[in-house]
C-alpha cells in the first residue's frame, strides 16, 4: 500500500474493484495524511474519523457482497462546514452560529453522497458564513494554501479546496455565491464547478444570498467533479458518460484586461497558452467580450450584500462581537443599497439571462481568467489592499448569470503558484462544461501537479 491517496476518484475506484486497495485502507490514508499536515494547513474544522472508518468498513462489506453503489463507493469526501451532517455540528466557521441550530440531519447533497457510497471524512474550513476573511482572533483554523502556507487558500470554500489539493481527500463539496468554489479551487490548483443556479438542492445549507447560492464539487480533475456531480444532483436516472471533442468547438474568450486591478506577469502567457492548446486541438477561438460586465458584477455585490444583511441582521444585533471583524464589516455593506437599487440589480440579473442566450448562441463555451493573480499572502489579504485582490477576481459575473462555470488550473506563476481559467456554458449544461474541461485536461497536466506540502 502507498502512503498517499491515489491521484483521483477514478483511479481509487479502479483500485477498490481490482483488489489493490480497500475503502478501509483509503480512509486510513486520508486520516494519516490529515494527521500529518492539517495542523499546519487548517483544512478541517471537524473530523469524523470514527464514523468514516465505520462507513469505509461498511463500503468494503457491500463491495465484497457484490453490492456496488457506483464510482463514489468507498471514496473519502469532505464537506464544507456550511452544510449539515448527521455526525456533528455545523458552525459556518462563526462564533455567532449556535453549532446545534442547524440540526443534525444530513443536508440533501450529503445524503445523496452517502447514498452513492461516499465516505464523509469531516467538515472543512471556510470564510465565515461564506463571506468574510480568515480571522485569526476567532477559535477556528485559518485555511492556508498547500502551495505556500503563508498564503490564503481562497474563499469561501478554502478548506475544501486545500484538502483536495493537499491529498487529504479525493473530493469535496463547496458552495459558490460570488466565486466561492472557483476562487479556492483556482488558488489551490484543483478543479471546481459552480453549478447552474437552482440545479442542486440547497436544503441543509446555511444561506448567504438566495439569488446566487449554489453547491458544487471540488476535485483534482473535471472528470472527478463529474462523478461527484452525478451523485449530488439528484438525477433519478443514471447519466450517460458525456465526452466532448475540442475539434470544432467554438470557444468565446474575454481576457478582461481592461477591468482587472492587478495581473501576475505569468497570467497573460498562461491564458494565451491555454487558448493555443484549444486552438491546436481544433477549437475555433472567438473574441467575445462579456456583455454588461460592470453592471452584472455590480449586481452580484448589491444583491449578495443586501440578501446577506437581511439574513444576518438579527444576528448582528444580538452577537456583533461574535462575528469576525471583516464579516460584520462586509455584511454592513448591505446598508449602502436602497430597495430601488436591489430591484435594479435584479433587473440586470434577469437581463443577463438573455445576454447569456446570445453568448451561447454564438459559442459553445466561454473562457475568461478566474483570477489574474495567484493566491495572495494572508498578510496582504488582511492588512493590504483588498480592493486590488478582489478586483483581480472575475468570478462574480457568472455567479450573477447563474450559468455552470468550471475553474481549472493552467500554467502557474513564476513562483509556482497555481493560476486558473474559467469555462462557462449555457444553463443546465454542467456536464457539457465539465466535458470540455476534461478534454482540456486530456491535453494538459496542470491539474496533476502536486503542492510541495
Amino acid at each position: 500500500m502507498t502512503d498517499r491517496l491515489p491521484d483521483g476518484i477514478t483511479e481509487a475506484a479502479a483500485s477498490l474493484r481490482d483488489g489493490t486497495l480497500t475503502a478501509t485502507e483509503l480512509v486510513e490514508l486520508a486520516i494519516a495524511r490529515a494527521d500529518a499536515v492539517d495542523p499546519s494547513l487548517g483544512a478541517y474544522i471537524t473530523r469524523f474519523d470514527a464514523d468514516a472508518r465505520a462507513a469505509a468498513a461498511q463500503a468494503d462489506r457491500e463491495l465484497a457482497n457484490g453490492e456496488d453503489r457506483g464510482t463514489l463507493h468507498g471514496i473519502p469526501i469532505a464537506i464544507k462546514d456550511i452544510l449539515t451532517t448527521r455526525e456533528g455540528p455545523t458552525t459556518g466557521q462563526s462564533a455567532a452560529q449556535d453549532p446545534d441550530a442547524a440540526g443534525r440531519e444530513d443536508a440533501v447533497v450529503v445524503a445523496r453522497l452517502r447514498e452513492a457510497g461516499a465516505v464523509i471524512t469531516g467538515k472543512t474550513t471556510l470564510s465565515e458564513y461564506a463571506c468574510g476573511f480568515p480571522d485569526p482572533e476567532k477559535p477556528f483554523p485559518v485555511p492556508r494554501n498547500p502551495w505556500d502556507l503563508d498564503r490564503w487558500a481562497g474563499g469561501s470554500s478554502g478548506g475544501s479546496a486545500s484538502a483536495v489539493s493537499a491529498g487529504l481527500v479525493l473530493g469535496a463539496i463547496g458552495t459558490d455565491t460570488g466565486g466561492s468554489v472557483r476562487i479556492p479551487a483556482g488558488f489551490c490548483g484543483v478543479t471546481g464547478l459552480k453549478t447552474t443556479w437552482g440545479a442542486i438542492d440547497t436544503r441543509g445549507c446555511l444561506p448567504l444570498a438566495w439569488s446566487f447560492d449554489s453547491i458544487g464539487p471540488i476535485a483534482r480533475s473535471a472528470a472527478d467533479c463529474r462523478i461527484i456531480l452525478d451523485a449530488i444532483d439528484g438525477s433519478p436516472t443514471q447519466r450517460r458518460a458525456e465526452t466532448r471533442s475540442v475539434r470544432g468547438l467554438r470557444v468565446g474568450v474575454d481576457r478582461l484586461d481592461a477591468v482587472t486591478a492587478a495581473t501576475d506577469p505569468g497570467q497573460v502567457e498562461a491564458l494565451e497558452q491555454s487558448l493555443s492548446v484549444l486552438a491546436d486541438a481544433g477549437a475555433e477561438i472567438v473574441e467575445l467580450p462579456l456583455p454588461r460586465y460592470a453592471e452584472i458584477v455590480a449586481a452580484n455585490y448589491v444583491i449578495m450584500l443586501s440578501e446577506g444583511l437581511a439574513y444576518h441582521l438579527p444576528g448582528l444585533r444580538e452577537r456583533w462581537h461574535d462575528y469576525g471583524r471583516s464579516t460584520r464589516q462586509l455584511l454592513c455593506g448591505g446598508f449602502a443599497y436602497s430597495g430601488a437599487d436591489y430591484v435594479q440589480a435584479q433587473r440586470i440579473r434577469a437581463q443577463s439571462w438573455r445576454d447569456a442566450q446570445e453568448v451561447f448562441g454564438a459559442v459553445d463555451v466561454h473562457l475568461s481568467p478566474m483570477a489574474t493573480i495567484g493566491a495572495p499572502t494572508l498578510t496582504d489579504l488582511l492588512e493590504g489592499d483588498q480592493g486590488k485582490v478582489f478586483g483581480s477576481l472575475h468570478t462574480p459575473y457568472w455567479a450573477t448569470v447563474g450559468c455552470p462555470t468550471v475553474a481549472l488550473p493552467v500554467a502557474p506563476t513564476a513562483d509556482g503558484l497555481p493560476l486558473s481559467i474559467q469555462l462557462a456554458g449555457p444553463p443546465s449544461a454542467d456536464r457539457g462544461v465539465l466535458a470540455v474541461a476534461s478534454a482540456f485536461q486530456e491535453l494538459t497536466d496542470f491539474h496533476l501537479r502536486r503542492p510541495p506540502l
Binding site: E295, A298, Y301, Q329, G333, A336, Y337, D341, I348, Q351
Partner: protein, 59 residues
C-alpha cells in the same frame, strides 16, 4: 438620514472604535449601486400591468 443614523435605526450597536471604518465601508459600497444606474443599458421600465424584472413589455 446619515449612515450612523441608518445603523442606529437598524438596532445595531456598533462600537465607537469600529464606527468610522464601518461607515467608510458602507459609503464606499455605494459605488456599486451607481454602476447599476449609470450604465443606462437596460430597456425602459415596463408599463403598469406588464411588469417584468428585465423591463421588457412583450412577455
Amino acid at each position: 438620514m446619515g449612515t450612523r443614523d441608518l445603523l442606529d435605526g437598524a438596532g445595531l450597536n456598533v462600537p465607537d472604535e469600529e464606527i468610522d471604518r464601518i461607515i467608510a465601508w458602507i459609503e464606499g459600497s455605494r459605488a456599486m449601486a451607481q454602476v447599476l444606474w449609470s450604465a443606462g443599458s437596460l430597456p425602459r421600465p415596463p408599463t403598469p400591468g406588464r411588469v417584468d424584472w428585465n423591463g421588457s413589455s412583450d412577455d
